[in-house]
Amino acid sequence: MTAAALEVSNLTASFGGGRLTAVNDISFTVRPGEVLGLVGESGSGKSVTLRSIMRLLPASCSVSGRVNWQGQDILTMTDKQLRAVRGGQISMIFQEPTTALNPVLPVFTQIEENLKAHTDLDRAGRAARARDLMDLVGIPDAARRLREYPHQFSGGMRQRVMIAIALAGNPKLLLADEPTTALDVTIQDQILKLILDLRDELSMGVVLVTHDLGVVAATCDRMAVMYAGRIVETGTVAEVFAQPNHAYTRGLLGSVPHAGTERSMLLSIEGTPPALNRIPPGCAFNPRCDFATDPCRAQVPALQDLSPNRSVACFNRDALVAAGSPLG
């Protein structure tokens, strides 16, 4: 097992002078060439986590903790160091490729911008590299399409363009913020496959934020489940799917329909995730949890390591394990 490429420790991000904590004391690592899935409902803090790694949050948000990248803490870097990391070593792609591309600049210009920032290629070199990148992300007729504007591309093609821009600086880590949510299912599949192929080809680490467990199962090596700003369970995808150790993970898995098994009722998790200003005392999930006991309402369970790759934050893990996997 190689050393971690990205090591996030005790990351906390809060808004409104500390009253609203969107991300609460989370730690995780990403190894080179590994795909980590960050899973959770809307508002669980997945996107804020990604954005705080890249320091993209507005100044009104205070971020603490460490984001260790190749021996340096991204959170304390100078602007100049940060610019070299952003786009050069760590790249990010966004949920909505329609808005993440600049509508008034041709695609070539947008790819070239990244090449100007992170390589010292000359004009001809940049043009050649841009064509290579278009080929790499599977956009045919690169020479012609480079001159076109984002509105002339379909949704899936725009996301490919976005990926091409993100890859221009040869990043070692790709942060993907729900890259397929805005796309339809067949295109989703192509984009995920593309990301995996690129991971293999360029041996990048990938952090994939998603609320879609199907996506996680198909693409990720390890996963971390987030609820109300905290990580509640981590593990390899196979382990977590086989035996969820947290009631929330169990609920998530149970609410996904499965083909090929006997017909059964879909489980749903009662209620909605708490608003940031109304997080209940104790385990944030306790009002919605079938397994909740008194300690759950009093104390926040700590994330405990079960094995090097597996950890969970739940007081009633034994009861859960006894109940088995909802995928059964």
Binding site: R51, M54, L56, A59, L82, R83, A84, V85, R86, G87, G88, S91, M92, F94, Q95, E96, T99, A100, L101, N102, P103, V104, L105, F108, E112, E113, N114, A117, H118, R123, A127, A143, R144, L146, R147, M162, I165, A166, A168, G169, L175
Partner: protein
């Protein structure tokens, strides 16, 4: 980039075929105005400043289509020669505010925080005063004349452009593509001027057209008040002022320069409207 350009026929031509009518009409007026302003002598039948004491205060006739003024100067020739000064006013009184206002507005809108608060106070201070009064105050300190007028308008006018651009940049900087730019490690200046500004500049360009029409009115107002172009220069405001004592008996001295102002203003306004339409559909 050039080699890529040559490989692909552009599909954008069809859009150019459907220019909005206001733009065609306004553009035609402006192009004609610019041509007249560059070569006034070609179009003017007489010298604009030659007195003809045999033809004082004559009404429109075949020899003088717009009549003559109280010095016997041909009003048509003076209106034509005034294009040179008035088109100059339209451009010079607006291009510097447009330029500096855009830069300042983009920086302020992007930076936010203290810069924005400070800028907001400046905007308040400037727009509390009536524009004309402020410009007159500055001109009277600097002294009358065209160059001082440009300075006065520049000192006040940039605020309006900066306000428009700042508001647009504030919207744009929160969009994903701005975050994407930051996530790619671009410098702030690069994000502001290469990425945000092209998306934010449209309303300022449209306002610029309107502002040129207003600048001509302002130039004429100051000319009328004796603070802009100085007599005997042929300038529409000066001409209107010249004719004000003869309104009852010789209306043509003031009315024809007035119509020239209206026509040119219309040209700018139509161009602005048409431009707004073209730039909007492009998005």
């Amino acid at each position: 980039m050039t080699e890529i350009a040559s490989q692909s026929p552009s599909p954008e031509r069809s859009r150019r075929d459907r220019l909005p009518r206001p733009l065609i009409l306004g553009g035609a007026i402006l192009i004609a105005s610019v041509i007249v302003s560059i070569f006034p002598a070609v179009f003017a039948p007489y010298d604009p400043n030659t007195f003809d004491y045999n033809a004082l205060l004559q009404g429109p006739s075949r020899a003088h289509p717009m009549g003559t003024d109280n010095f016997g100067r041909d009003v048509l020739s003076r209106v034509i020669h005034a294009y040179t000064i008035d088109m100059q006013i339209a451009i010079f009184a607006t291009v510097f505010p447009f330029f500096f206002g855009t830069i300042i507005g983009a920086l302020v809108g992007y930076a936010g925080g203290i810069a924005e608060t400070l800028f907001g106070r400046i905007v308040d201070a400037v727009i509390t005063f009536p524009f004309l009064v402020l410009v007159i105050a500055i001109v009277s300190v600097l002294g009358p004349g065209l160059v001082n007028m440009y300075i006065a308008v520049g000192v006040v006018g940039w605020v309006f452009y900066a306000r428009i651009i700042a508001a647009e940049v504030k919207v744009q900087k929160r969009l994903d593509y701005a975050d994407a730019g930051r996530a790619m490690g671009y410098t702030h200046l690069r994000i502001i001027f290469v990425h945000l500004l092209p998306n934010a500049i449209t309303p300022a360009v449209v306002y610029w057209m309107t502002d040129m029409a207003l600048a001509i009115l302002l130039g004429s107002s100051l000319g009328y008040l004796g603070l802009g172009a100085q007599p005997p220069a042929a300038e529409w405001g000066v001409q209107i002022a010249d004719g004000k004592n003869f309104m009852a008996t010789a209306w043509w001295i003031s009315v024809f320069p007035g119509l020239a102002i209206v026509l040119t203003g219309l040209g700018f306004s139509l161009t602005g409207d048409g431009l707004a339409e073209v730039l909007r559909t492009k998005r």
